[in-house]
């Protein structure tokens, strides 16, 4: 069951026109890219409530109506009426303008918190919903600082038994995490991490709550400046095995929770605080197994919508964990040869839709083939006949061909046998084409790989000449880019058989 649609953002789909929607989304995407460049990429999530599924109209109350509602909540004694008032208040808070009105009321948050802890479960729920709306506010005045009175209670309730309530508390906390370092320190001190650990244990069969835990944790650890205290605390908390147990490709469980947990693992791995600990707890094994499973699914053609959201963090996690120690030591966790096949399958499958994912997949291959003891993986690539699939990616830009050339260079560096096998797989004609490409970096890498091939065995140099590669090198000598000019000259002078002439007029 795919929960993708259940959790909504307020921006939602207000525009009915598809073109309008696409335009808005493109604008939004540009904003996100700008935010990322400023290290300000932050998202919040808003839970829709059951009675708001057909959301479309928001009743915007006048300010005095909001105040009146709040006063009724504040002074009300009848719990049933209070519940109704709180519900009405919560609905009013759908409109962002009401947020400002509410927080201007004295002790507004305190009143909500009182109801949050009060005796009436429904009042608790509605109070939690009010706080959740506030946590998602677009107004900068309604920030985590203002809401901080609520956090110790929210955290305490994470160990409670009510899934719906717990989910609300989780998303509220998750929305508060990115706001500032102070907030995060406060949450840490108030014990959010053990609480999350408890929560995921108690509610491990409830996919909505597990997804919410994953989301909140990812918000906590993906913020800036978290490597000092937060990530070590997470690593020591016992959360990792619980996250890993979610990484099962059980279709009943849905992709939502798995996605969130995978992103958590990615943020932990790329922070590089203690990747050895991550590996020791089985992260690499679980992630690679899941990647293999996803590779099999891709091979069978059963690609679910949104699967790339899961593949992405897994690739990143594996890619970074490969640097956590000597590759030989990690090999037991990497022993399934289908991992290599999956890493070659993802680029083929996602080349047109998500080229960045293709590039990251090859990056993982780079990390597998670049280590000191990578020979087993390089050999495996030949044994499984995966090199032609890589060579076919060479025409593609977006950083893909450069990464492929790195992998091929890694393989060539292993030795003469590897170079010969590369040539057998058809690398030389492919290099003749990449040498002509517009991107200087591509040409530079191509010359490097070519140099390695020709240095390893004179047969390969002769083969290159037979493939009419010589004019290309000569042409590059006239380039105004020094890097490639020098390399081309070097190859011509040192690696080509002496009988090759450089004179173009005597050529074919």
């Amino acid at each position: 069951m795919w929960r993708l649609n259940a959790v909504r953002h307020k921006a939602g789909r207000q525009g009915s026109d598809l073109e309008e929607f696409k335009f808005k989304r493109r604008e939004h995407e540009k904003e996100l890219r700008r935010a990322r460049k400023d290290s300000q990429l932050v998202s919040k999530r808003l839970l829709l409530n059951d009675d708001e599924e057909e959301d479309g109209t928001m009743d915007t109350l006048a300010s005095d109506q909001v105040v009146e509602l709040f006063n009724m909540v504040r002074h009300g004694r009848d719990l049933v009426k209070k519940e109704a008032d709180l519900r009405a208040l919560r609905k009013a808070l759908r409109s962002p303008s009401a947020h400002l009105i509410l927080i201007k009321q004295p002790n507004s948050i305190a009143i909500l918190v009182t109801n949050l802890c009060g005796p009436n479960p429904q009042c608790r729920l509605e109070a939690a919903r009010c706080l959740h709306e506030l946590s998602h506010s677009p107004h900068s005045e309604v920030d985590s600082l203002r809401l901080r009175q609520a956090t110790p209670y929210l955290i305490t309730f994470l160990s409670g038994q009510s899934p719906k309530f717990t989910e609300l508390c989780l998303y509220t906390l998750g929305n508060m995490c990115p706001d500032s370092e102070n907030v995060r320190d406060m949450l840490l001190a108030q014990g959010i991490i053990p609480a999350l650990n408890n929560c995921i244990q108690i509610h491990r069969t409830n996919l909505a709550v597990v997804e919410a835990v994953g989301f909140t944790l990812s918000q906590l650890i993906s913020a800036n400046y978290v490597t000092g205290t937060i990530i070590p605390a997470v690593l020591a908390s016992g959360l990792i095995p619980r996250l890993l147990s979610v990484l099962t490709p059980d279709s009943q469980f849905g992709l939502g929770p798995v996605i969130e947990c995978a992103w958590c693992l990615h943020y932990l791995a790329c922070s590089n605080v203690d990747n050895g600990a991550l590996v020791a707890q089985g992260t690499l094994l679980h992630c690679t197994s899941l990647l293999v499973t996803l590779g099999v699914a891709v091979a069978k053609g059963s690609i679910e919508e949104g699967i790339e959201l899961l593949i992405w963090p897994l690739l990143r996690c594996v890619g970074n964990l490969l640097l956590s120690g000597p590759l030989g030591a990690l090999q037991p966790q990497l022993n399934d040869s289908r991992l290599l096949a999956a890493l070659c399958a993802f680029p083929q499958a996602f080349l047109q839709t998500h080229p960045a994912l293709a590039r990251e997949s090859i990056w993982v291959l780079n990390n597998l083939t670049a280590a000191a003891d990578s020979s087993v993986f390089c050999s495996a690539l030949f044994y499984l006949n995966l090199v032609p699939a890589l060579i076919q990616l060479l025409p593609f830009s977006h950083g893909i061909n450069i990464m492929v050339l790195r992998v091929l260079g890694n393989i060539a560096h292993q030795g003469r046998e590897y170079c010969l096998h590369l040539a057998q797989a058809g690398l030389l004609p492919a290099l003749c084409a990449t040498l002509k490409m517009a991107d200087t970096e591509v040409v530079t890498f191509s010359l490097e790989v070519l140099g390695q091939l020709m240095a390893s065995d004179p047969q390969l140099a002769e083969e290159f000449v037979r493939q009419s590669g010589l004019p290309m090198l000569e042409a590059i000598q006239y380039s105004n880019q020094e890097t490639i000019r020098l390399r081309a000259t070097h190859l011509l002078e040192h690696h080509l058989p002496p009988h090759c002439t450089v004179d173009t007029s005597a050529s074919q």
């Binding site: 921006a11 891709v298 053609g301 080229p355 030795g415």
Partner: protein, 318 residues
């Protein structure tokens, strides 16, 4: 989408041994004495510098940008659109590397045609590109061999340009007549003197058009030198009248329409046109003396056109 071999690999049955440590390992290492350039380079500098390197990417790395954006669009529920127009993989473009050329092509064939037309059989003295090795030889002999003009006074030195003919002549005109009469070449074939072209455009930005040739020649020994030579020269377009004098840098303003440009070489002897160019007695502009050549290239002839070398502005960038 996915290749059959990959599908087969991934959907292999459980009976197949999938363990990596069961795969035979190829022998590592190079033959003794293998000249591995980055360590054994004789001129002391490592020219090839690639070393296998594992790459650690932190959360904010630019390589991760697209994936992060995709994740946040999903968090904000904006990713579930049927026609999500994410960036698609582009095929790399190809670029001509001859310095100063910089043209970009979308297919290898286009690039190769360009290269073969303009950069093959290039005369190293005047950077003209000739259509064949033989014509290049003739060109070099007739234009860049100082002994040639001396010998030509006493012997028949001008070869017929038709392969296999073998006839030689005392003057260029005689050769031209021979080719017209015997080999049925059109009289307006680009022997030595070309016709004036009416429309002359100067593209300041785009130097070369695909497949056409350029009436440009500069001599290039080093790019830096060329830069200096040409920095005050106007750019040249494909069909134009060129007045060339033996002294570099001298233009002939009265004979040029406003919109032609000229380039002169820094070679005293090198003319800037093709093999067959020579001043003829029946040229249209009698005011030129023997050393002044007026050359034009008909649009339809791709023969003996100069290639471009040196810094002449920039081609289309990618």
């Amino acid at each position: 989408m996915l290749q059959p071999e990959l599908i087969q690999l991934l959907t292999a049955s459980d009976l197949v041994d999938l363990r990596i440590d069961a795969i035979p390992k190829l022998q590592v290492g190079f033959r003794p004495g293998c000249f591995f350039s980055s360590s054994g380079s004789q001129d002391g500098e490592a020219k090839l510098t690639f070393i296998p390197q594992q790459i650690l990417l932190n959360k904010d790395h630019e390589l991760f940008e697209d994936g992060d954006i995709h994740r946040h669009l999903y968090l904000q529920n904006l990713s579930t659109c049927p026609a999500y127009d994410s960036p698609t993989a582009r095929q790399c473009e190809f670029r001509c590397y001859i310095s100063g050329c910089s043209q970009v092509f979308s297919t290898v064939e286009d690039y190769e045609h360009h290269y073969n037309t303009l950069h093959r059989h290039v005369c190293s003295s005047c950077q003209r590109s000739l259509p064949s090795a033989r014509l290049l030889d003739i060109h070099i002999q007739e234009w860049h061999d100082s002994l040639f003009s001396i010998l030509a006074e006493r012997q028949d030195m001008y070869q017929c340009l038709v392969e296999g003919c073998g006839s030689k002549f005392r003057t260029r005109d005689q050769r031209k007549d021979h080719m017209i009469k015997i080999h049925k070449y059109p009289s307006d074939f680009m022997f030595d003197k070309v016709k004036r072209i009416k429309n002359i455009k100067i593209a300041k930005k785009n130097m070369l058009q695909k497949g056409t040739s350029m009436e440009v020649s500069m001599s290039v020994s080093e790019p830096e030198g060329v830069c200096e030579v040409l920095s005050d020269q106007p750019e040249e377009e494909e069909y134009m009248e060129i007045n060339h004098s033996l002294e570099p840098g001298i233009l002939d303003p009265p004979s040029n329409p406003i919109n032609t440009v000229e380039l002169s070489t820094d070679h005293d002897t090198a003319p800037i046109l093709s093999v067959t160019i020579q001043p003829t007695t029946n040229q249209q502009r009698p005011q030129h003396n023997r050393e002044r050549h007026s050359y034009r290239v008909p649009r339809t002839v791709c023969f003996g056109q100069g290639s471009v070398q040196g810094f002449r502005g920039h081609g289309r960038r990618i």
